[in-house]
């Protein structure tokens, strides 16, 4: 890819790893801060915290909506194109029924989803479990396929850094953790290791000069990540345009995660791998 010249040769492993290390620590701080403030590393959406989400397509302004729903615990109004996403806190059955009636009457084309608090808790628990299992499973596959300690650790570490950075950016730009974004994070666990596997494979299993192998891998790896980026970007643009919230969030998380993946594959993973090979590991 001729977009820019990235000369891996020029930098020592230490230099390569400074930037991601700083980013990683900053991300951990963001997550820790959020954890201290809210009890969760990433702000949970209604899927996990319970509540009611309403999607309506309307030209009504924020103020108008606030007046319409003034009798209900309206906590948030999201606004993309002419799609409005309303979030309500927990309500008792009666209030909820009257809310659905009001919505049916004023905005008959709405989409309503309501999640009870305990149901949300159980979803949250299962989602956390799924994330842990996925990550551990991925790590096992990596160790089995490389059977060497340092390179495997490098891949797993890069994937972990992807997750942490993505979660931190989600906090910063205000994407909540929902079923959809959990799916996106899981997708990232699987997909972010693609380019790492390619890199490690090229460096450890091919003949030739280290820097040539690194550059070759970079060439192929970047095109791989950019195709996935292109697909995610297409999804993001369409879902923004059509105000399809869940797809917008999934694609946004994928975009963030893929950028983090570029950083972590070509700085973190390359750094560790280069250090390992220069030290005499591999062939």
């Amino acid at each position: 890819m001729g977009l820019f010249k990235y000369n891996i040769e020029k930098y020592t492993p230490q230099q390569l790893m400074v930037i991601p290390l700083v980013l990683f620590v900053m991300s951990l701080m963001v997550l820790a801060f959020n954890m201290a403030a809210t009890g969760m590393p990433v702000k949970p959406g209604i899927d996990f915290s319970g509540g009611t989400a309403v999607t309506i397509i309307t030209f009504d302004s924020r103020e108008q909506l606030q007046t319409t729903f003034s009798g209900y615990p309206l906590t948030e109004i999201g606004d993309v194109n002419n799609g409005k996403f309303l979030k309500f806190g927990t309500m008792d059955d009666k209030q909820y029924q009257s809310l659905t009636q009001l919505i049916n009457q004023k905005y008959p084309d709405a989409k309503i989803d309501q999640i009870g608090e305990s149901f949300g808790k159980s979803l949250q628990y299962q989602a956390a479990l799924a994330l842990v299992f996925s990550f551990v499973g991925m790590a096992i596959v990596i160790f089995l396929s490389f059977r060497t300690f340092v390179p495997s650790v490098a891949v797993v570490l890069s994937a972990l850094a992807d997750m942490v950075m993505t979660a931190a950016v989600m906090n910063v730009v205000g994407i909540t953790l929902s079923l959809g974004t959990t799916a996106a994070l899981l997708m990232l666990i699987g997909y972010s290791v693609d380019s790492d596997i390619l890199l490690t494979n090229r460096v450890l299993k091919r003949q030739g000069k280290l820097n040539d192998k690194l550059m070759g891998a970079f060439h192929t790896g970047m095109i791989m990540t950019s195709t996935t980026l292109a697909a995610a970007a297409a999804l993001f643009i369409v879902s923004w345009f059509g105000s399809v919230q869940i797809l917008m969030e999934i694609s946004a998380v994928l975009l963030i995660g893929l950028v983090a993946d570029i950083i972590n594959t070509w700085l973190t993973n390359v750094g560790i791998l280069k250090w390992y090979v220069l030290k005499g590991g591999g062939k």
Binding site: S145, T182, T220, A234
Partner: protein, 486 residues
């Protein structure tokens, strides 16, 4: 490429399989124009891509592991009094308590009854979950809702905490009415010929037992139920008035649910004799012997409950999508898919600038999506928005892997000899299999768990990866070799 080469390529087994599968997929998807002239397919849509509602119910009950030194029957009887609710033996070491209690609240009650709690979980046993499912399905079917699904969500240890009802083409208010609706149950007695008279209505039935054998172990099945004092009095009065106590054979008793007869039998001579002199609250409706009798007993239990669930539930979550929004989402999903393919195509073209590489890549990629859609249509899987995201991701990573193959084979810009080609293809496939394995492993927990809508997404992503690795990648390897060796 001339026609001879093309023919050779098409008859290569890898390519041939791909082509056959694409054709089969198109047949499975079956794009056609319906009566209104709209383009229609066999694809099924989930509740966010069409009008529909979902309700998820949570059982107000728990399954508790127990030990006791008392005989189990006595222990259960004593515990039933303590908790003031139905207690059912779920299996040898677990009880189902049909009333919400916390573990801390239950412990003293167990102690009083002479037992100990070994485990505690909110929810019901699998068999109760199944009967709740049957009750809900009966209700929905009786209303003729065209497209409904009831899923019991059972955890790893056979304890179900939730049950999810999905109804297409129904708005949320209707859906809640259907799930909450009670049937009208009554017992009538035959007077003369085909005429019947009302005896008692369903609200006089205070409890319904699970199907049992009477006497125990006889394989003669039936369902026991209890009438209220008042109901028992009415029952006795009617039986005497119409002569069922002296001539049971000509005065059948019939049970009706929503005016349809669901059970009809005469009084047993034994019961008829007793009714002559006393009120009887505890009744038993026998249904016959063997498997048929047991099945009928199960159905009768549901009917006796008149649509009431055997265990109380609360609404844990619900939602619905309107028809216009569903249509809009469907259009957006289609647009996103097409746009993803096009942008990916541009990126690939930018990199290789060689139509003979780019074109096969895009075609193989598109065929992968097509095969996946064909499979989705075949298993009648309901596509929803997360599934669409999964499909778009399949496009993105599918291309990734084709890039790996292309770059490995084209290593150092030279077209390799067949021997070297095979070696490199094998190496590329090695990388791909490792990458694919991580995706499959990463998605496996979701596919196995019941995380509401995400299960489908995970299954589709895994399928996409498998289709890629098993079918489309090897075919692409063959195609690209043929193209390059020109």
């Amino acid at each position: 490429m001339n026609s001879k080469e093309l023919k050779a390529l098409a008859t290569d087994w890898r390519v041939a399989i791909l082509i056959v599968l694409v054709v089969l997929s198109v047949i499975a998807i079956f794009p056609h124009f319906d009566e209104q002239g709209h383009l229609a397919t066999n694809l099924q849509y989930g509740l966010d891509l069409q009008q529909g509602s979902w309700i998820q119910l949570e059982y107000k009950a728990e399954v508790v592991g127990f030990t006791t030194d008392e005989p189990v029957d006595e222990f259960i009887a004593s515990l039933t009094k303590q908790v003031d609710a139905e207690v059912i033996l779920a299996d040898a070491t677990h009880l189902e308590i049909r009333k919400p209690y916390s573990q801390a609240d239950l412990e003293p009650l167990f102690a009083t009854a002479g037992g100990k709690i070994t485990s505690y979980q909110q929810g019901v046993s699998k068999s109760t979950a199944e009967s709740v499912k049957r009750v809900l399905e009966n209700k929905i079917n009786s209303l003729g809702t065209k497209d409904a699904k009831v899923n019991t969500l059972t955890g790893f240890n056979n304890v179900g905490r939730y049950i999810r009802v999905e109804m297409a083409g129904v708005d949320m208010k209707q859906a809640q009415d259907i799930v909450g609706k009670q049937g009208k149950f009554e017992i009538r007695i035959q007077t003369t010929g085909n005429n019947t008279e009302h005896v008692v209505s369903g609200d006089k039935i205070t409890s319904v037992q699970v199907p049992s054998q009477e006497p125990a172990g006889s394989d003669k099945w039936g369902v026991g139920f209890t009438l209220s004092e008042e109901g028992a009095a009415e029952f006795q009065a009617a039986a005497i008035r119409y002569g069922a106590t002296v001539d049971p054979a000509n005065h059948y008793l019939a049970m009706l649910l929503d005016n349809k007869t669901v059970y009809s039998a005469p009084l047993s001579t034994d019961l008829a004799g007793k009714l002559q002199t006393e009120k009887i609250r505890q009744l038993f409706a026998s249904t016959g012997t063997g498997k048929a009798g047991s099945q009928q007993a199960t159905d009768l239990e549901i009917h006796l409950r008149a649509g009431a669930l055997p265990v109380d539930v609360t609404i844990a979550g619900s939602g619905g999508t309107s028809a216009p929004l569903g249509e809009r989402y469907k259009a957006m999903a289609l647009l996103a898919g097409i746009l993803a393919l096009i942008t990916v195509g541009f990126v690939i073209y930018y990199r290789y600038r060689e139509p003979s590489i780019v074109l096969p890549m895009i075609l193989v990629n598109a065929s992968e999506v097509l095969i996946l859609l064909g499979f989705i249509a075949l298993i009648r899987f309901q596509m929803d928005l997360p599934t669409i995201a999964g499909l778009v991701a399949v496009v993105g990573t599918g291309i990734d892997q084709l890039v790996i193959i292309t770059d490995e084979i084209l290593h150092e810009g030279k077209v390799p000899s067949p021997n070297l080609y095979l070696k490199r293809l094998t190496r590329a496939l090695g990388i791909i299999v490792a990458a694919a394995a991580t995706v499959v492993i990463a998605m496996l927990p979701l596919a196995l768990m019941d995380l509401s809508t995400l299960k489908g997404f995970a299954i589709i992503t895994i399928l996409g990866v498998l289709v890629g690795v098993i079918i489309t990648r090897p075919a692409y390897g063959k195609v690209i070799m043929q193209t390059l060796s020109k």
